[in-house]
Symmetry: C2
Subunit: 231 residues, 2 copies
């Protein structure tokens, strides 16, 4: 395993209060791996053996229903911890994590968790802040799903991805990882067909531009209108 550079972690919230020595220590205990697009990193219900940090790429966190469908609960962007079941006293992962694009992640065995929270100042604090934010996000998705019409939900989902992973280009905001219509359907609890129609419609009206697995939001403002207060 090649030695990992310390600059990888400096500046990331969970490690921001640590000195070089501590970061070195953490890195020396880390495993590092590359995941191809579509590869699962861990699966719902499996024993939580490691916890992770996403260095590069994007993840989909997915939950399966009894009848085999799966829905996307949230996305994870670089710099975030994930698979942090031990923080919540769980011994299995509550959901499946899948690489949405080519991805690199560090990981540590769960037995180090207690050491991390004890020895490294700010680590626990920042972790729980992340947990809090995720709960907020999920709750928001929940209310949206419960109250909004399909078009608004799809608009929100697209905007959320754009905000989370957006790259500014001349044309607009580009979603940085591959997304299929089916993926969006899985985020919004609708079908591939409906999503396709909506995106086609928006493209006709100049709100977005899209090619396969690739979406650029060209008129975020009007999309926000669609997603929210109708009028």
């Amino acid at each position: 395993m090649p030695k990992l550079d310390e600059s990888l972690l400096t500046g990331l919230p969970p490690f921001s209060r640590l000195d070089r020595g501590q970061i070195r220590q953490i890195l020396d205990q880390a495993g590092s791996r590359r995941y191809e697009e579509g590869t699962p990193i861990f699966r719902e219900g499996h024993d939580a053996e490691r916890f992770y940090l996403l260095l590069d790429g994007y993840l989909r966190v997915v939950q399966a229903t009894r009848d085999g469908e799966e829905i996307i609960v949230l996305h994870i962007s670089p710099g975030q911890l994930f698979g942090i079941a031990p923080a919540l006293q769980r011994d299995t992962y509550p959901a499946t994590a899948i690489a949405a694009a080519e991805t690199i992640a560090l990981s540590w065995p769960v037995r180090l968790w207690d050491t991390f929270t004890r020895e490294y100042e700010g680590f626990a604090t920042e972790t729980y802040r992340t947990v809090g934010q995720r709960i907020g996000q999920i709750q928001e998705t929940l209310t949206e799903l419960a109250t909004q019409a399909v078009e608004a939900r799809v608009a929100s989902a697209v905007l959320r991805m754009a905000n989370q992973s957006g790259r500014k280009t001349e044309e607009g905001i580009e979603i940085a990882f591959p997304v299929t219509r089916q993926n969006i359907a899985d985020m919004t609890g609708t079908t591939l067909h409906t999503v396709s129609r909506l995106l086609s419609g928006w493209e006709k009206n100049g709100l977005v531009r899209s090619t396969r697995k690739h979406i650029v939001v060209t008129d975020a403002h009007r999309l926000v209108l669609l997603s929210g207060a109708k009028d």
Copy 2:
């Protein structure tokens, strides 16, 4: 303020590893209050000044949408901590808590949070376990909302309440707090009308019995079938 009895806390998970002296200490710092049915205990977005323990009664945790609708995210039963924003490094409450029935709760100012987690063994651990469980619950609701038909969602919601707060009676399992059709609609993202129709239908087929604000599940088994794998 009358002195609170120590037996209130012994046996509850967050305090189970503490001795009498510690429990006495905790109680002496607690505020105790009664809330009438329908009273909010705290509101979404307000400064998180205290954290709470539900002694008796039931709570609805509610989130409001931009357009004034509100949906019920989860219920809280006696013995659980709630309003634990500080555990997640939040300084405002992420949702509104409303008494679903006459309720009694203890509370402490947030500045004691750090003391509690530091001094009282098992308190932090158990709290985070609760958080983990709630996330699991919300995620489940989310997938349900995204994939299941209305009838299945309503069935699940009723079953969830029955399991959480069920009292066995001769007739079946009785939900221990008042629930209106509108409440169920708010849990499942549907309308009062649809819920009313469904309950009427079920009553006709002997799955439930209901009077106003009051539901008894008389055939849990068949209700489970409705809630899950169709056939």
